[in-house]
Symmetry: C2
Subunit: 244 residues, 2 copies
C-alpha cells in the first residue's frame, strides 16, 4: 500500500472553526470521501475527486477509502465535528479489522471542534465540570442500553451532551429520555437545545427539564443538560468548577 | 462597559490546531490573560499587553479580565485545549456572578481542540462510542465524589477521559482510581496514557488496566480508558460504534 488515509473533522459548520492542519490535508488530497453535506463543504479543484455518499453507509464508505488508499490515493475522509466522536473514525477502523487485505493501512486521525463543545461555547460554559457524551440513536445499540446509561449518568451528576437526539425515524425516544431525566434530576435542571451550531442560523433555546419537550430537538440539534449546579448568569449558562 | 472578553482555546499545543477565529481574535486583542505557559504561546506585538499569572489563581485572573474589559479593553483569556473543559470559561462566569459590578459584561467563548480529542485522534478512535470526561483533581471537589463517579461511569460502560490525573501534590489518588477501575472493569480493559499531546515529544503508551500503574501519568498526561468493546487493530486503538 502506497497511499494513505486522513480522517478529519471539519468542525460543526463555521469555516473559521476548521483547523489549519485539516485545511492543509484537504489541499493535498487526491480523493475526499464522506456524507453528502460534509463533502459539499470541500471546494472542487483539478486533481481532486469528491466521493459523496448517503447517510448510514459508513462501512461501505470506509471500505471505499481503504481501497483507494491501497491503490495509492491520498484519501481524506471528512466528518462533521470531530471524526472520533460518533463519526467516521471508528467506522474506518472497524472496516480495516474486518478485511485483512487492509492490514497495515496508514491512517491519520485529525481532531476537530465537536458539536457539543461549540454548543457549550455558544451558551457559556455548561460543560465546565465532569460531563458525558451520549449518542441517543438506537441504530447501533438497544434503546434499553441508552436508557440505563442516562439513569447512571444522572446518578453520577454528570453534565450531559446528546448527539442525534431525535430523527424522523425515531420521533418518540427523545421524549422517553426527557422523562427519565425528569425522574432522576427533577424539573429545574437546565437544558440547552442548540440547533445549527456555529452557523449563521444557529439557535439556542435554554429551558428547564420541566419545560423541555421532545419537539424542541431534531436531527440538527445537540442537546446539553446541566449538572445539579448548572446555573444562569445574565444571558449565559455555566457549570461551576467546584463540586458536585 | 465598552470593552469585551473572549475566552479562547489554544488547543493542546500544536500550532496547526489553533482555529482561525481564535488566531484572529488574538490579533485584535489589547490584553491577553492566562496561565504562564499559555500566555507564552502568544507572540508579543505593539499594542498588546500580556498578563501571565500562576496556576490556581483562576478567580483573580477572571476578575482582572472583567475589570480590564470594564475599563474598555479588548481582552482575550487564553486556555489550553477548550476553554469550557476544565479551564477558564467557568471561572470567568463565576467571577462575573459573584461581583455585581460586572453584570452585563460582553463575553464570547471560542471553542478549541480539547486534549482528550487530540489524544483520541493520536491513538485511533478510543472515544468512538458514548464517553465521559472527569477531572481527577480534588482541588475543587471531594475525592469521594470522584471515586463514586468513576464507579458509576464504569457501571454505565462509558469510555472515559481523565484530566489532571496526577500531580506532585496528589501522588496517590490516581492509584486509587486505577484500583477502582480494575475492580469494576477487570484487568483487560485498555488504557492509553497520552503525554504532551500534539507536541513533537508526544508519547502514547497503551496498556491494560492490569498493567497500568500510577507512575505512568503526570500532570502533562491525559488518560483514556476504553469501554468493554475497545480493541486494537494494528497500531491503533478504537471503540466500535455499536453496542455496548
Amino acid at each position: 500500500m502506497t497511499g494513505n488515509i486522513a480522517i478529519v473533522g471539519l468542525g460543526p459548520g463555521r469555516e473559521t472553526l476548521v483547523t489549519p492542519e485539516v485545511r492543509d490535508m484537504l489541499a493535498q488530497a487526491t480523493d475526499v470521501i464522506g456524507y453528502i453535506p460534509y463533502v459539499a463543504r470541500v471546494a472542487p479543484r483539478e486533481g481532486l475527486t469528491l466521493h459523496a455518499s448517503d447517510n448510514r453507509v459508513e462501512i461501505d464508505r470506509a471500505t471505499h477509502a481503504l481501497q483507494l488508499a491501497k491503490d495509492g490515493a491520498r484519501v481524506v475522509v471528512v466528518s462533521s465535528g470531530d471524526p472520533g466522536v460518533f463519526a467516521m473514525a471508528s467506522a474506518v477502523f472497524e472496516a480495516m479489522q474486518a478485511q485483512p487485505q487492509f492490514a497495515g493501512a496508514e491512517i491519520t486521525v485529525m481532531p476537530g471542534i465537536t458539536a457539543m463543545l461549540a454548543a457549550a461555547a455558544a451558551a457559556g460554559a455548561p460543560l465546565g465540570h465532569d460531563f458525558c457524551a451520549i449518542n441517543l440513536s438506537d441504530n447501533l445499540k438497544p434503546w434499553e442500553t441508552v436508557a440505563r446509561r442516562l439513569r447512571l449518568a444522572a446518578e453520577a451528576d454528570f453534565a450531559m451532551a446528546f448527539y442525534n437526539p431525535r430523527s424522523k425515524s425515531r420521533p418518540h425516544q427523545f421524549g422517553e429520555a426527557l422523562d427519565i431525566l425528569r425522574g432522576a434530576c427533577g424539573p429545574d435542571r437546565l437544558v440547552i437545545f442548540a440547533r445549527n451550531v456555529s452557523l449563521p442560523d444557529q439557535t439556542l433555546n435554554t429551558v428547564t427539564l420541566g419545560e423541555a419537550t421532545a419537539e424542541m430537538a431534531d436531527m440538527r440539534t445537540v442537546v446539553l443538560v446541566g449538572n445539579s449546579a448548572t446555573r444562569r448568569v445574565g444571558k449565559y449558562v455555566y457549570t461551576p468548577r467546584s463540586a458536585p
